[in-house]
Symmetry: C2
Subunit: 332 residues, 2 copies
Amino acid sequence: MRTKATLKHISQSLNLSISTVSRALKNHPDISDQTKQKVMELASLMEYEPNTHAINLRTNKSKTFGVIVPVISNYFYHSFIAALEEDARRLGYALIILQSSDDPQIELENLRICRMNRVAGVFVSITANTKDIKPFLKLDEVDIPVIFFDKVPDFEACNKICLADTEAATMAALTIIRKQKKKVLAIFGNEEMSISKKRKQAFLSVIESQSSSMEVISEHADNADDAFMLTLKYGAKTGFIDTIFSMSDEILTGVMRAIQKLKKNVPNEIGIISICNNNFIPRMYDPEISFVETSGADLGKLAIKRMMDHMSGKTFVQELTLPSRLVEGGSL
Amino acid sequence: MRTKATLKHISQSLNLSISTVSRALKNHPDISDQTKQKVMELASLMEYEPNTHAINLRTNKSKTFGVIVPVISNYFYHSFIAALEEDARRLGYALIILQSSDDPQIELENLRICRMNRVAGVFVSITANTKDIKPFLKLDEVDIPVIFFDKVPDFEACNKICLADTEAATMAALTIIRKQKKKVLAIFGNEEMSISKKRKQAFLSVIESQSSSMEVISEHADNADDAFMLTLKYGAKTGFIDTIFSMSDEILTGVMRAIQKLKKNVPNEIGIISICNNNFIPRMYDPEISFVETSGADLGKLAIKRMMDHMSGKTFVQELTLPSRLVEGGSL
DNA sequence: GATGTTTGCGAAATTGTTTGCAAAAGGATA
DNA sequence: TATCCTTTTGCAAACAATTTCGCAAACATC
């Protein structure tokens, strides 16, 4: 194994001091042009590359962001991560990805990894069971900004980037009202999750206040299979429901499998509308599913923008919300 | 901002030398039990955490793997990454994720990031246009092992972890023959990609050698929309084809959208079989789609195992192949 | 000729951890 | 008391890059 070139090697070869070489490579005005040229030539010949570890040690910072998510394999998070990575690389940062597997213990361990690596900042979507957010706030104390996204803590004063849960559910409800539907099956996610609560609350209150004639059956599904069963149960009787609202991509997949099993015609026999991360799942069916978009990719871009703002001194805490938009597909 | 505790701080507080503190924390036999206890107590009190950058500089290694993929947002890669992350964390390694966006230039830049970070190893799936793999081999020279996975270079002597492309396509073909189908539309991916070539070659040669009565229409689709159009084209005429074979998840989504549009009954009017990454997409339809599994998650586990073997001295180069298996879903 | 300014560069400190070697301290034995 | 261990600890170098301080010498100004 050939060892990598260092400033020292270059300086010895040229009979210069290390500092001179360093400055020459940075085009520092202190150094004469001839010296600069000599140094640069030799550096590229020796394939010199600065040692990140040495720089990190010296500056006590690294050009790296930590990203902690419950799971990577989820259409929302991976599009978030992909968008984040693109912008981060453009800005000269790399991403360390850590999964908590929805386990607060592992989450804590991941925070430790971020601290030890002195990352420049952390993006985190907390687990469903994270109670104590003090460990997160502690990072701020050692000058590592923390941006919460998607699943954010309830009360504390911290930086949050959220989807417009209320707005998205409201949009979906209004669309259903506009289409003059009368009997809706609304399927929400796990009853404990705050995102389910928010969306349910918004959805139902819109229906209640804006439409007197509509009936809503509201149910919860923990996964696609639950949604499949619920759809079968209510959809089996002809004409019992005329619309299904799904709160997420995952629920939508269960609903649509049941719709196919029941051989229901969409949108004539039954209308479908969902809240989705992007057009990936909605475009897998015919007709394409109408949905309210809450984009993971857009959230990623918003998150890194907030991070850069924060690092450049705009340190005030705030909660940002990503607007959503309706994409009509023909299923309602 | 409170500064983080260092060995120096601890040593000064206790009137010991830095080296004594260092060794005490590592439970080195040289240090007396009382000293060890004193040190450990203070260390935990001061919330001491070793500085990764200093360790990295000292050892010229980091407990980090680099992962370079064309895109993250892809059902194959993100399940690969998720599996890799789980095992890596268990072994004390973090993951730096880099997307090449299928651009060889960015890929090169990402390699540079890996070198500069002196990662412990690199997992890479090359872009469709990567011609020159010398830069990858160069990493090996500076003692950074490189494991190619999924999209691997053709010829060179390097570590490769591949899906069993030939086997998977063969399995699918044999299944179709077993079901005594007569007229098959086979849709493969982009014509230039080696994975398409391999699967096509295997599929066709099995059909040719094992079945005299079967007719195959072979087509290429660059994306889901292409597959949608092809399926519409050939599926419109009743009874013209009795089976569709899809080479990938993405193609399958296009095929199924068309099937729904044509209101074809699966499997009675038309049979479907696909090669898929996991059961995610196949389970979105009813009946569930029969598929040959080429699991990204399993490939991730295999890749990290190979990496660890390589790092512990089993340095011989080899090509490993992940076996595939048939999952019957009811669509054929 | 004295003083100030600029140019070009080097020495040394800094960052936190590890480690080989030296050495001190203490006890036991001759 | 001298010698020899053993146990325990400290010194100093090494890792690579950056940065501060400041030295000289050249040059300009009065």
